[in-house]
């Protein structure tokens, strides 16, 4: 019963824990079942992706960056492509942009349904988990048929997309969407009216509008607190200006509101996908993309299923990026978990944690090395020496 801080009893969640599908370390100080303090340690899945882009060409980097996140892979590639295309002063053809939107919305469906299942599982409602994941297979099969892969679709190429939508595929998508729409209506009914489930979600983890502004929450987490912010609406990219999205917000800010926001966003996605299929521009899938990208830097922002995804890309005129900076939506949302945790039951912790739809591997962008040097800036030689000392 050794506790680290005085007389506090600390429950560690992670780095290895059944509630977390990825390694990350949370410490909850508890008084009986009541949580009195929370802290997080990030960085277990730092993969050096930003550094990795420095010795890959733009083409290769796109596939590396696609693997920042396993669930929202397409949106990462889109963000990078849009940024690089802007630097190279070209624009993907309208049909390619429309297909990017289509795949992004299918991906959002897959991500939100996955989250619905995970959220239900954390609450101990495994039947909802199984059914939502079963129905998620529908959208995965559609993606597999369109792109050839189930998770890392690799739909984008610099300057366009690889996959086209033919008449048969369009019909299959419509059919799948009809089924999903019916099921989603049912799930909305379940999360808003199931008495036992509501006991775990209603009024739990309430984040007010002011708090969400102060903590810098993004995406559906913020929208559940009434923050009307969605990049697809505010700064329409790709073809979102042609296929406008209606903003979905809720005001309650509790876990139920987060379930409702995400499920209602599914209906929005169904509508946008149908709009894309109804009005798919004819034309080429790609434009010619120069290998060397003009010198300059740009910021590319897109709305990932989890919130705002931010890319900074700097080119030095060669075929390799000088610097790529990625900020995934989980990082700004993480502060809300630690703040909301205090005062809740230990049993609510996994729910509150999952409520932001965390993706830990995505947010681990940097490791800070605690060494003898005071400086934040280390030379390669110093880092190498540190490594040798560390493993001695």
């Amino acid at each position: 019963m050794q506790s680290q801080q005085g007389n506090k009893f600390t429950i560690p969640i992670g780095p290895q824990h059944p509630a977390l599908k990825e390694p990350e370390h949370f410490e909850f100080n508890v008084d009986g079942e009541l949580v009195t303090g929370a802290s997080v340690r990030l960085g277990y899945v730092h993969r050096g992706i930003e550094k990795g882009t420095e010795n890959r060409s733009f083409v290769q980097s796109m596939y590396l960056l696609e693997r920042v996140c396993g669930i929202c892979s397409h949106v990462h590639a889109t963000a990078f492509c849009l940024g690089v295309e802007r630097l190279a002063e070209i624009e993907a053809p309208p049909r390619a942009q429309a297909i990017r939107v289509l795949v992004a919305e299918l991906e959002r469906i897959h991500s939100h349904m996955l989250w619905l299942g995970v959220g239900a599982h954390e609450a101990g409602f495994d039947t909802l988990f199984m059914y939502s994941w079963r129905d998620r297979e529908t959208v995965l099969n559609l993606l597999e048929d369109i792109t050839g892969n189930r998770i890392n679709y690799s739909t984008n190429v610099l300057g366009g997309v690889k996959c086209d939508i033919d008449r048969e595929q369009a019909a299959a998508i419509r059919q799948g969407l009809d089924f999903l729409e019916e099921r989603t209506t049912h799930y909305l009914d379940v999360v808003t009216s199931d008495m036992m489930f509501l006991r775990r979600t209603r009024g739990v983890g309430v984040m007010t509008y002011d708090e969400s502004q102060r903590l810098g929450a993004v995406g559906p987490t913020a929208r559940a607190s009434g923050v009307a912010r969605d990049l697809r609406v505010d700064a329409a990219y790709a073809a979102y200006d042609k296929y406008p999205v209606n903003l979905v917000t809720e005001t309650a800010g509790d876990l139920e509101a987060r379930f409702v926001v995400r499920i209602k966003e599914l209906f929005e996605s169904f509508r946008v996908i149908r709009a894309v299929l109804d009005d798919l521009p004819e034309g080429d899938l790609t434009t010619r993309m120069p290998r060397r990208v003009k010198e300059g830097d740009t910021i590319s922002r897109v709305e990932a299923p989890r919130g705002e995804l931010f890319y900074y890309i700097k080119s030095n005129g060669t075929d390799t990026a000088e610097r790529v900076k990625v900020r995934t939506p989980t990082l700004p949302n993480m502060a809300s978990v630690l703040t909301l945790a205090v005062g809740h039951q230990l049993a609510d912790m996994p729910m509150i944690l999952v409520g932001i739809d965390p993706c830990f591997s995505c947010n681990d962008r940097m490791v800070s090395v605690k060494g003898t040097l005071d400086s934040q800036c280390w030379t390669w030689e110093q880092l190498r020496q540190y490594g040798i000392e560390y493993y001695r």
Binding site: I11, P18, A19, A123, G124, F125, Y131, F197, R199, P350
Partner: protein, 306 residues
């Protein structure tokens, strides 16, 4: 002759081996039903057996800083308690092997031994998940134990005996589910609480505290606890069926009745969300205990009049 009968009853039928295998069969039915409710295929028929053999064959890791004797003995006591309780209940509708006046109370105590051992096992280790799990397990035990006792005493009052065989004989001619529906409900839900089935699985909620009190258990100890739980599922179902669903009967009919009960239990497991521990306690003391008590008082009043 008597010794031989005792040995057979203890080791083979209805105690010992038979009850172990029957328990695993019931566990399989439970798992399969939940899987079917969730549109999955579910485990194959030998899965609980395979799990047990695999666990028994594995190394048992004894953590440092625990009382090693207690750590090893607790799962044995838990399983022994569950197995012993099987001797006093009418397994598959047959007369209980042993019977004496007041065996109902003894059986209930033996059935509680599993939870008690789980709690102690959790408290014995230094693991934080185990400690929280142990606290929750014991808290939950204190919440359901009283209402369940009241629910099972109901039939005893009307049968005017503390003997399980007499009560089930009485239940043969009186379907107590009709005269004491609240008792039946409390008994079934109490059984689920005892076995830490969803929605009462807060003591072993994997997304919060990994495996609860049994987090540090592996190999043999874990297998014995699991077997104890399977046996208790079977004994509990038998007891509720014998008391509330028409008492001892033709073995096949009795088996069908327990299966029907298991279908209901599996349905409840798959349709409800896990309760937080304070919600569980609230549910039992606010509704379970009060309702059981109310029915109990009505019954006593009725008996007094008659």
């Amino acid at each position: 002759m008597n010794t031989l009968r005792a040995v057979i009853a203890l080791l083979f039928f209805p105690g010992g081996l038979f009850i172990l295998f029957a328990g695993m069969a019931y566990e399989w039915v439970d798992r399969k039903l939940i899987a079917r409710f969730q549109n999955r295929i579910g485990p194959r028929w030998f899965q609980p057996l395979a799990d047990s053999i695999k666990l028994l064959a594995k190394e048992e890791v004894i953590p440092t800083d625990v009382n090693a004797i207690l750590f090893v003995v607790l799962p044995v006591i838990a399983l022994a308690g569950a197995l012993a309780s099987a001797l006093y209940v009418p397994i598959i509708g047959l007369e209980p092997s042993y019977s004496f006046s007041g065996d109902l109370i003894v059986t209930l105590y033996l059935l509680s031994l599993l939870t008690l051992c789980t709690g102690l096992a959790g408290a014995n280790t230094l693991d934080r998940f185990s400690l929280v799990g142990a606290t929750r397990a014991l808290t939950q035990m204190f919440s359901y134990e009283a209402p369940v006792l009241l629910a099972l005493l109901g039939p005893a009052i009307v049968a005017e005996s503390w003997k399980i065989s007499v009560i089930s004989e009485y239940a043969k001619s009186h379907w107590l589910i009709i005269t004491q529906p609240i008792g039946f409900l409390v008994a079934v839900i109490g059984l689920m609480g005892k076995l830490e089935m969803p929605p009462f699985d807060a003591p072993e909620a994997e997304t919060e505290i990994v495996a609860g009190a049994l987090t540090e258990y592996s190999g043999r100890g874990l297998a014995l606890f699991h077997l104890g739980k399977s046996v208790e599922l079977m004994v509990g179902l038998t007891l509720v069926t014998a008391f509330y669903l028409g008492g001892v009967a033709n073995p096949l009919l009795f088996f069908a009745k327990t299966l029907m009960l298991l279908v209901v239990v599996a349905g409840v497991q798959s349709l409800l969300t896990r309760l937080r521990i304070e919600q569980t306690v609230g549910l039992w003391w606010r509704y379970g205990a009060l309702l059981a008590l109310a029915q109990f008082l009505v019954m006593i009043a009725y008996e007094g009049v008659a």
